[in-house]
Symmetry: C2
């Protein structure tokens, strides 16, 4: 079983690429759109002339970031990713900052990918139009259900659609270039329209223009999201892990860059006009096209142009694009709980999120992620453009912090490293990371400056909330730890109670009661008595009679209950024992039904549960549940085990 | 403490009347409206000429019903009410039918009373208009909060508003009669309008007319809701309980009847025109008044006419009416959980609803009631007229069944009763109950016939669902009971395990662990070992080292955990012990933190909890929680106790 798992899950490069790249690659489905429509605010000409330059800058940044992360992969093969790098080199606060950013980003990855996927589907299947938000939520629900059921992601499941997507996009690009060269590349449907500038953007001064270009650029940086995925997944690679991871990273970068540039160039050649507010900005013969006009995604328009003579291609592109976007969203469903468990390990999130091997721990994470993402999709009506505004800031927060951390890392090692060759390598790495830090830092500033009012502010706020929440949790755990530590030489906690006073709670005489009595007797306590609460006198006397008839060798004591309560009389009685002989240990045996369905749980054990809870507050009292397995409970246990999401990227 | 309670809560008649009558009396706030607007469907004249006759019939029915219930009160002083009468005399199915009807009715009592109260408030405070539903939900929320906090209803709290209400309404009536006699009773504002028949009601044939009259009558029967309250509350009365209860019932009936008739007569004298669809039915000079016209409740219009020269009176009436309607709703908040606990006692609802003395049990009931009522208020937009359609059917189902039950009751007793005087009394009672049964049965048929399509159908459906749900729960409990009964002479369940194998789970060495070890050792098991799960090897070896350093006198065993799980390795190990020596008892000691806040609960004990749950499925294993009370847990216990709703009417 275990070895199978290992065999199944350690990934060769050709599987690792699709598993970790889907997020990064999928952004080619919306990044170009964002560049075009932002430039388009100032009218069609700017978009046509500047888009490819903007794209080039984005590509440059991407190259640098990928170079930098190749260093991370080598230096931190453990899979802690940015969080680990930041924590180790810049301290827990920095790590927590990165963590908050990543958590927010996972939510946005789902929201953006799904929204984009839905918009994409709409350009192929008209009936989706107008119901984007609903469809989006449904897709999220399906993903959630799948991940809750614990379907283990298999490399293959990722490989097929991802490679199909690469093939489709690059195939489209090649075919487009070919038609361009052979001079029969048709124009996009929107080419016949003119793109009027948005109000207030008609005459832009140099500064305003620069600002707009920067805004377009930072929108385009959406293409970089998901680049860090591999650095979190090194353990999942086959040996030599770091080398393979680094290579895969490079591969992924190259492909992403190629796709992005091709899309932008094709969009230009086919004269795509893409507007943020199509109804008013797009003019046909000088007249706004109005609300009836439906604006396809750039990918959609380009494919329709390139495959003008081959409609199947259009549908294919749109389908695989939709698929990879869903996969991208799914990576978040895997990453979020994993990061959660790392944070839990460090005491920043509830401990149980760390516990492996049961799905419950991860279910919470999955549900939180899904809920938050669905909320965003509804609030922003599945509008990618508006969601993007929140998106990129988190990515670059973690990029920047982690790159700064890497520089620190190399500084530390350089202090001890003697071997000149090694020093040379470290120097080089340090330069690369330094450049990476500077560049991503700059981009972060640009993003903040250009997008803060457009929504990035919300993302920052969310991060802050998470940051302080996690800090508070950690503080709580520390407080408890201090409260529980035993001073050296302090032995009073090892003192044995003098006697054991055992009490078996009895409601009526049935198998669970008899078992409880037998178990209690087996522990040979100093005192053993059965206890019942006299709620209905006649019932009690009946019980007493049967007790004697069966001559059960344990005395039965009945507590009066003026208000027909059960809990309080028992608690009071136990307390009285404690006060009479404080050094005794009181053990209360409570028979408990083990049932098979949640609704049966509602029908049983409630008063036992309440009693447990109440007794726990009394020191010197121990509560023992004596389980009785009802027939319905059979087989339930097996259903409790099952695969857990994120195994693949954890390399388990 | 206990005696105080008793003193505080056993009710003299003058307090019992307001406590139990608020529901019945409050219906005068909406019953007349329903009669008028139903008749009004056929135009103004019918309403003017027939309303008081309809009211008379309602009064007649009420008299009969009250006479009948005086018999119940004497025969069943235990407070089981209709449910008990039906179960005892007609069997559990009949009882369950009544129970379903009552549960549905409690929900409707809240919905109708609150909605009517809000409509009433609207006629005094204009700003409420248009937000009825919202205001209604808010009021329900407030009531819920109060009842959840466990405010004990005190007789006084009921007495003041109820007596104020009686005083206000009867005072208004007397003043109105006086002005009428002295000939200066002004007309209502709507008197100047004409009331046009609703489409389709212009020319009613004899049959249709009769049907309409019946419909008006069954709407008017809303006045009877809450009459049975006293028969559920006999134990709360001072001795002689039954006599006092019967007298109070009579008193209540007289007052209710007086109020109802006065309202109807005053409405006629002041020429109130009241329409179901005021905008189109009410004409000013032949033209519909339209949506701008706001139609006050009958109570509102009458008070404005009677107190034309004394506006304060109008406000007063409207305020006390609002108050008593809220009180009426509150009675449901007390009755619903009480009935729930009786049903739970009989195994028709989850057992824990029966457990007294902790608020949790009742909280569930309160929340369910509030949720359902709020839903109705929202769905029906706080429209009393539409809610009434669902309301009355439940009342008369329970009236009818319980009266039939009473007849059976007397038959049974007559078989054994010898004393002629006694027989005579029983005969008389039987006649009364027989009449009661026949009459309420007839009304029930009328209600069903006239209202089924208008909404009574939904009520019936809801009752059916509850009926079968409760039947299913009972079946489940019976199945479990059979599964657990020990055959006479079957002693194998008393067999003692041969040895006790104790296992203490250890994560790290702190006070809770040491306490668990001490407790485990105190029980002197045959075998005792400490168990830890090796998730992080270095942590484990550190633990082992400290273990030896502190020379803890218990061997520490470390289980390997390939997947960094905690639960499964332990479960597997325990099972292996069971298989090696099946006759041993395995006791697993789990240290558990006792915390003070729910959110701390989220941060602790989760893996312990999971482990407990898993181990419970293995027979021959007993799980002992060894509590460690964290500082934050202090004082929590006290907060757990508190008064419980419905105490007053249970006479506790």
């Amino acid at each position: 079983m275990r070895s199978d798992r290992l065999g199944e899950t350690l990934l060769p490069k050709k599987l690792a690429l699709p598993v970790f790249a889907s997020d990064a690659l999928s952004s080619v489905a919306y990044a170009p759109d964002e560049i075009l429509l932002t430039l388009g605010l100032a009218g069609g000409t700017l978009a046509l002339t500047q888009s490819w330059k903007i794209a080039l800058v984005v590509v440059l940044v991407m190259a640098v970031v990928i170079m930098s992360y190749r260093q991370n992969v080598h230096a931190y093969p453990s899979g802690g990713g940015d969080y680990e790098v930041a924590s180790v080199n810049l301290g827990p606060r920095a790590g927590l900052t990165v963590a908050s950013a990543l958590l927010v980003d996972y939510v946005l990855t789902v929201a953006v990918s799904i929204s984009s996927g839905v918009q994409n589907a709409a350009s192929a299947f008209g009936f989706v139009r107008g119901h984007e938000a609903v469809v989006g939520v449904v897709v999220i629900a399906v993903l959630t259900a799948m991940n809750l059921r614990g379907v283990r992601e298999s490399g293959a499941a990722f490989a097929v659609p991802t490679y199909l997507f690469m093939a489709a996009v690059i195939g489209m690009a090649l075919f487009g270039f070919y038609r361009r060269l052979s001079g029969d590349l048709p124009l996009a449907e929107s080419a016949s329209l003119t793109l009027a500038p948005e109000d207030g953007y008609e005459q832009l001064g140099g500064l305003a223009m620069a600002f707009l270009l920067l805004r377009a650029f930072s929108s385009g940086c959406a293409a970089l999201t998901g680049v860090e995925a591999i650095s979190n997944g090194v353990p999942a690679f086959q040996k030599p892990k770091s080398r393979n991871a680094a290579t895969t990273l490079l591969l992924m970068g190259t492909i992403a860059v190629t796709m992005l540039m091709s899309m932008v160039v094709l969009a230009r050649w086919t004269g795509v006009h893409y507007a943020e507010d199509e109804a008013t900005q797009l003019l046909r013969d000088g007249v706004p096209v109005g609300d009836t006009y439906v604006q396809d995604t750039v990918m959609g328009q380009v494919s329709k142009a390139v495959f003008s003579n081959f409609h199947l291609g259009v549908v294919l592109v749109s389908i695989v694009t939709g698929l990879i976007l869903v996969l991208a969203a799914n990576t978040a469903f895997n990453g979020f709980p994993v990061l959660g468990s790392i944070l839990a390990r460090d005491g920043f999130l509830p401990r149980q999120l760390h516990t492996r091997g049961d799905r419950l721990a991860f279910s919470n994470g999955i549900l939180i992620l899904a809920g938050a993402a669905a909320a965003l999709v509804v609030i922003f009506d599945a509008d990618v453009t508006r969601l993007i505004q929140l998106y990129i800031v988190g990515v670059f927060v973690s990029f920047t912090v982690s790159q700064i951390g890497m520089v620190r890392h190399w500084n530390r090692h350089l202090r001890v490293e003697k071997d000149p060759a090694g020093r040379a390598r470290m120097m080089r790495s340090r330069v690369i990371n330094a450049v990476g830090a500077t560049m991503s830092g700059t981009v972060l500033l640009v993003v903040l400056a250009t997008k803060f009012i457009h929504g990035a502010g919300y993302a920052i706020a969310a991060m802050a909330v998470l940051f302080f929440l996690m800090l508070g949790i950690r503080r709580h755990y520390d407080r408890v730890r201090d409260e529980l530590t035993v001073m050296e030489g302090d032995t009073k906690h090892q003192l044995l109670p003098s006697r054991v006073h055992a009490i078996v709670l009895v409601a009526k005489i049935h198998k669970p009661t008899l078992r409880a009595l037998a178990y209690a007797r087996a522990t040979r306590p100093s005192i053993l008595e059965a206890l019942t609460v006299n709620v209905e006198p006649e019932e009690t006397s009946a019980l007493q009679a049967e007790w004697d008839r069966r001559d059960i060798p344990v005395p039965l004591k009945a507590l009066d209950s003026p208000y027909r309560e059960i809990t309080r009389p028992v608690v009071d009685y136990v307390k009285s024992i404690r006060t009479d002989s404080p050094r005794d240990l009181v053990v209360v045996y409570i028979p408990q039904y083990v049932v098979g369905h949640w609704w049966e749980q509602l029908l049983h054990n409630q008063s036992a549960l309440r009693l447990r809870t109440r007794l726990l507050f009394t020191p010197g009292v121990m509560v023992s549940s004596v389980p009785w397995q009802l027939a319905s409970s059979e087989g339930v246990e097996d259903r409790m085990d099952g695969p857990v999401v994120g195994d693949v990227r954890r390399g388990e």
